[in-house]
Amino acid sequence: MDFEDTPEEAAYRAQVREWLEKNALTIPPATRVGVTESKAWQKIKAAAGYAAITWPKEYGGMGGTSMQNVIYGQEEANYNLPGNVFLIGTGMAMPMLMVHGTPEQKSRYIQPALYGDEIWCQLFSEPGAGSDLAGIRTRAERDGDDWIVNGHKIWTSGGHYSDWAILVTRSDPGLAKHKGLTFFLVDMKTPGIRVDRIKQISGQSHFNEVFLENVRIPDKNRVGAAGEGWKVALTVLMNERSAVGNIGMNVGVDELIQIARDAELIDGPAIHNAAVREKIADWHVQTQGLKYIRFRSLTALSKGITPGPESSITKAVSAPRRQDLAAFAMELMDMGGIIQDRQIVPYRAAFADDWLYAPGIRIAGGTDEILKNIIAERVLKLPGDVRVDTGVAFSDLPTGR
């Protein structure tokens, strides 16, 4: 057991470092830039093969290993680079097309997505279908060589700057819910598409609602057979849950310790208070546990084997933990913990921000409850919930208010 690269990995890391040294499109610290800069950086990466390390060469990838992908990610993280707005395209939509797309679709879409010329978003969730994605209602009806789509999608990241979307619709409500779905690629500039920002509980807007009104989609943009949309959607979903768990934390145990050092409680510095120390210890051990789980996954990747199921606990642990840790940091500030003024509160009120953001993390990409079901069912092999919606026509299912 050690934490070293294998000789091959070390060689690859050196190669990546050298390339980044020469080519990274670094931006000044603590600044954010727009989509234009993101596209420019993506083009540079794609030309060198680093935009899709694990993709086969025929699709413009590097034909590399997952471990090489991890190494590249670690090295890239040392630079301040433009934001990556291509993950839905390169991480979910294109891998799905590689499996289910026609040769024409592959040659039309993969290259522009890889080079950042076209940004993709995902039109899956609906107000009435979140955890139960197969319960979507957005209708697709055949009209000659086209389909006419009407409905309402929600929680779309980047909807306002995306060029294309992957879309799952209900084409036949007379069939059981998983059977009447059809999957499409849709140009976001198509008439009848409206994108609205969603205001979150924090007041910020990271997501969109997308309304589709008589949106006309040519049948050649269908992926998979009509009625086979669930199968296609599953390919996409497999990639999503791993993506959401990795949303980074700005503040964590180190910052909490600093706050505990600075805070005075009634009997002295908070860091000397046994109740505070106990909580810090708990969260530290959790942090380390998650980190070492990642190490175990990396070790598996390094050996060329598929990581075990232990990685599925990451989001189930980290999201509620983030909420609790933020709440406790605020508590150490006593009455002042309620203040959100960045000039006054330590770490520019990042704990308060976290406390307002964490409820969303506990829901997005699988709620705490769904994730525990997944651990119970896929990892521990316990039976699934009793289903009352299999074999029932979608239009006959109860829907509530």
Partner: protein, 375 residues
């Protein structure tokens, strides 16, 4: 045994609920959230007309001379409705401080306008983003003048006067703390609203630059009075928390019964049922503790400090849990500004921090138990 509120008191509660439903809906709360208004002045006016501001003020001072039990009933409904008004600052903090420590002249001067809603008071204790203690407090009182910064001061931008915790000695013990009444509209006072996690209740940064003040209670007796005022307020705030927690449970229940996933109401999944059962259990434990707090407050029982800390600990736990798990039950919709869940999430935090942290109240409770156990 009669461990319950009387029919008259329950009638008052029903009236309060009707009034607040009618005049202080969540639309009103949102208006305060979305604008620069410090509070809903029309709701406040209605509250004053109903006489709630004078609930515990004796008739001789212009109040209606009811007791703390009646005030608890009102508090529960204020908590349920999230009413954006400076009630807790003026009634639970300032009025209680004057009732506990005011001289006859001070009572004559402040009580009638407090009861009539012509004046709004508050308590200024905290000075920074850490707990105010005799060791860490800096605001001074010398030659009748207050100097220093207090923040966050609840309803500091709304109040006419504040009871300010000040240092009157160089020591770091409890005897170095006194209380001074300061006119917040007078000379030497600058106020600025603070950006906080719950914009539906005002919190302010108040700077005193040799602002004139008069002692409330004896010099050096301030810390002891503050502790008593906080005990009284803890019971009343616990009722607000119980009301808020109850509202969250009802929201979560309604949503879970009407939201369908996998062909059934999500309320039929055990993960959700047990979550709501946990909310119910915490809420009932908080309610029962709060009843005892109400009894201790209304009778001035020797056990008041422990009773107050007990209901504060239980109610803080209940409301914080109910507010966050209410969002979770609502799923993605609960994370939107449009749904009302976050109004409760924010207020739960405001209430749980506004009288000092959960940890500090637990510590205080055990100190009381130690005294009793030693006796």
């Amino acid at each position: 045994m009669n461990f319950d509120f009387s029919d008259d008191q329950k009638l008052l509660k029903d009236q309060a609920q009707r009034f607040l439903n009618d005049k202080s809906s969540l639309k009103v709360v949102r208006r305060i959230l979305d604008t620069d208004e410090t509070h809903a002045s029309e709701v406040w006016k209605g509250i004053v007309e109903l006489g709630w501001t004078g609930t515990t003020i004796p008739e001789a001072y212009g109040g209606i001379g009811l007791g703390h039990l009646e005030l608890c009933m009102i508090a529960e409904e204020l908590g349920r409705s999230l009413a954006p008004v400076p009630f807790s600052s003026s009634v639970y903090l300032a009025t209680e401080a004057l009732l506990l420590a005011g001289s006859e002249a001070q009572k004559q001067k402040y009580m009638p306008p407090l009861a009539a809603g012509e004046m709004i008071g508050t308590l200024a204790l905290s000075e920074s983003t850490q707990a105010a203690t005799p060791r860490t407090m800096k605001v001074s009182f010398d030659g009748g003048k207050v100097k220093g910064v207090k923040m966050p001061v609840p309803d500091g931008d709304v109040a006419n006067f504040a009871v300010v915790a000040v240092k009157t000695g160089s020591g770091t013990d409890e005897k170095s703390v006194s209380l001074a009444i300061v006119d917040l509209t007078g000379p030497g006072v600058t106020r600025a609203p603070l950006r906080t996690l719950d914009p539906t209740r005002n919190l302010s940064n108040v700077t005193f630059d040799n602002a004139p003040g008069e002692l409330l209670g004896a010099q050096g007796g301030g810390w002891a009075i503050v502790q008593k005022v906080l005990d009284h307020a803890a019971v009343l705030v616990a009722f607000e928390q119980v009301g808020g927690a109850d509202a969250c449970l009802n929201m979560a229940k309604e949503y879970a019964l009407n939201r369908y996933a996998f062909g059934r109401p999500i309320a039929s999944f055990q993960a959700i049922k047990h979550k709501l059962a946990d909310m119910y259990i915490k809420n009932e434990l908080a309610r029962s503790n709060s009843y005892y707090g109400a009894w201790a407050l209304s009778t001035g029982a020797p056990d008041l400090a422990a009773a107050a800390a007990g209901c504060r600990v239980a109610a803080t736990e209940a409301f914080n849990f109910a507010a966050k798990e209410n969002i979770q039950t609502h799923g993605g919709m609960g994370f939107t500004w449009e749904f009302d869940c976050h109004l409760y999430y924010r207020r739960a935090k405001w209430l749980s921090l506004s009288l000092g942290s959960h940890l500090s109240w637990k510590d205080k409770l055990v100190s009381e138990l130690e005294k009793r156990n030693a006796a």
